[in-house]
């Protein structure tokens, strides 16, 4: 019966859609509504129109958090992709104990980022300075996390340590799609080493490069756990990520309304970045 099929599909879709609207769409709309108020998170509030948005663009702390988050996201994405591409090439070449290496290199990705960051926090605070002291590197005698100029590097290292595992595994699956005879044919034309990589390997794995770029940028723009465990936004608010600032000042700092406006802008930024990336990578793939 055709009607029976239609009814079944509706009975599946409607409740699940309702659940989705209840816990995704409605809070999203409420967030947008709060962004036009001076709500503190409790008590009464007034409409303030676009004032939160106007304040957002002149607020130095918000500006710093965007600068930090984007700097972290861009630098970490580059570091992660270069290193994981190298690792993937090594892991895909003729080596011994291949599956052991692949398994071991993926390990950081399954560990909880909060705990990983706590562990690294201790390394940066105690072990690295002790080692630097002994071998006489002055610059590293104090914890890199305690200096506003270098704390972001600590965050970057921890983010990269975990993300490399993920990106490497994706690059490996990309490299496996390249057939061996492409290299053989290229080898006859003198394409070896760097030339082989630049003209043969890389163009063929561009779809996987795109996946990694999208994954990286999006994850690093939303960085939170690492900040929570490494720096709590410090020193001197130099490592406050956007998510951390929204959480910290919005949930307990009495800026519910203002940080809602921040979150709305952040949402728009995420959408723009994602759409731009998809457009860009879509174009690149077509050229092949």
């Amino acid at each position: 019966m055709k009607n029976e099929r239609k009814r079944t599909f509706l009975l599946i879709t409607i409740p699940i859609l309702a659940l989705f609207i209840c816990f995704n769409t409605i809070p999203l709309i409420r967030g947008v509504i709060y962004s036009f108020t001076n709500f503190k998170g409790f008590g009464s509030y007034d409409w303030v129109g676009l004032r939160n948005y106007a304040d957002l663009f002149t607020d130095a702390r918000v500006g710093r958090s965007y600068w930090f988050t984007f700097k972290l996201a861009v630098v970490t994405t580059i570091v992660v992709n270069v290193l994981s591409l190298l690792l993937a090439l090594a892991l895909n070449s003729k080596i011994r104990a291949k599956s052991f290496f692949r398994g071991a290199y993926f390990l950081p990705n399954i560990l909880g980022s909060l705990v990983v960051a706590y562990i690294f926090n201790y390394f940066f605070t105690y072990i690295l300075p002790a080692v630097a002291d002994m071998i006489g590197i002055d610059a590293l005698r104090t914890s890199i996390l305690s200096d506003p100029g270098s704390a972001w590097i600590g965050v970057m290292i921890v983010c990269a340590w975990q993300a490399i595992a993920m990106n490497t595994i994706i690059y490996i699956s990309g490299l496996q799609t390249v057939p061996e005879d492409v290299y053989e044919a290229g080898g006859l034309d003198g394409a070896t080493g760097w030339k082989q990589f630049k003209y043969l390997t890389f163009p063929l794995i561009i779809p996987f490069f795109s996946i990694n770029m999208v994954l990286c940028i999006k994850n690093f723009l939303m960085v939170f756990d690492q900040i929570m465990a490494l720096t709590k936004g410090g020193p001197a608010q130099s490592t406050e990520s956007i998510s951390y600032l929204i959480y910290n000042n919005g949930m307990s700092g009495g800026q519910f309304g203002f940080q809602s406006a921040n979150a709305v802008v952040f949402f728009i930024v995420i959408v723009i970045v994602s759409v731009a990336q998809m457009k860009f990578s879509g174009k690149k793939e077509e050229q092949l």
Binding site: I12, F20, N24, I26, L87, Y118, I169, I170, I242, F267
Partner: protein, 277 residues
């Protein structure tokens, strides 16, 4: 063709690179077993093995962080989320995947849900903290419901993508035999989608198990912890006893390490499938 030899330079890079993973893990283990008096600032002191392999640090850390209760919560939340995700998301993927090509309504719902992938938790967190409190869901059950919603876009995308390759003929054959759509789904389609269930289970389990933000925002007032949340909430109680803190960190990592050792192949496959599709 000449048999290629082992790539020596690749091996060297890999072994050196492995130390950046092995060293932090090694240090975590030895620090977790040491006593505060064994902590010295010399390289040999940092690298040395503990004098005794005593489990006292772990016993104490378990008491401070209420380990078994947090473990129970983490297992409960992760387990139920995975089961619910497989059931709910595969059904939704089926309903949307089978209809979106010919129905405007279903293709709209599909786009509507999949575009939820762009919504960062940061914008939902404050309204959701209020909403779950109002609805009496500021607890582990609320957290599970939220996870089912948060991972819906990704999983529905995966399931409906997988269904494209499953021919309609299977369903039509069952229909001829008089089975309802509902029965056909559970008897024929659900079992066929097993590879995708594995991918969804791995991706959802890893994400939920390690998530901090959702329980932090939603369960803050409930007095209950998940394993990562316990590390955050009891951080101050370790004071300067880093050995105790590391014992606690190691304890919280052990369940997922065991899981990884047992199901490494499935996890790697699941993660790659999820990302590449």
């Amino acid at each position: 063709m000449i048999e290629k030899k082992t790539n020596i330079s690749a091996m060297t890079v890999l072994i050196l690179g492995l130390s950046t993973i092995a060293l932090p893990l090694y240090l975590t283990i030895v620090i977790a077993f040491k006593q505060p008096s064994e902590m010295t600032n010399s390289i040999s002191g940092i690298l040395s093995l503990p004098k005794a392999w005593s489990l006292n640090n772990f016993r104490e850390a378990m008491e401070i962080t209420n380990f078994w209760n947090s473990l129970k919560n983490s297992l409960l939340i992760t387990g139920l989320t995975v089961v619910l995700s497989i059931v709910v998301h595969s059904l939704m993927g089926y309903a949307l995947g089978r209809n979106k090509a010919k129905s405007k309504f279903y293709s709209f719902v599909y786009l509507f849900i999949v575009s939820g992938m762009f919504v960062p938790f940061a914008i939902l967190m404050m309204p959701l903290a209020k909403q779950t409190a109002e609805m009496g869901l500021a607890n582990w059950f609320g957290v599970i419901l939220l996870y089912v919603v948060f991972y819906m876009p990704m999983n529905v995308l995966l399931y409906s993508g997988y269904l494209v390759n499953i021919p309609m003929a299977l369903e039509e054959a069952a229909k001829v035999d008089g089975a309802s759509t509902w029965t056909t789904y559970w008897k024929i389609l659900f079992p066929i989608m097993r590879p995708m269930h594995a991918t969804v289970a791995v991706l959802t389990a890893l994400a939920v198990w390690n998530d901090v933000m959702t329980p932090l925002v939603i369960m803050a007032g409930s007095g209950e912890n998940t394993l990562p949340l316990a590390q955050l909430n009891f951080q101050s109680q370790f004071g300067t006893n880093y050995n105790l803190a590391f014992a606690s960190y190691l304890l919280s990592l052990i369940p997922i390490l065991i899981f990884y050792v047992i199901c490494q192949k499935q996890i790697l496959n699941g993660v790659v499938n999820g990302a590449v599709k």
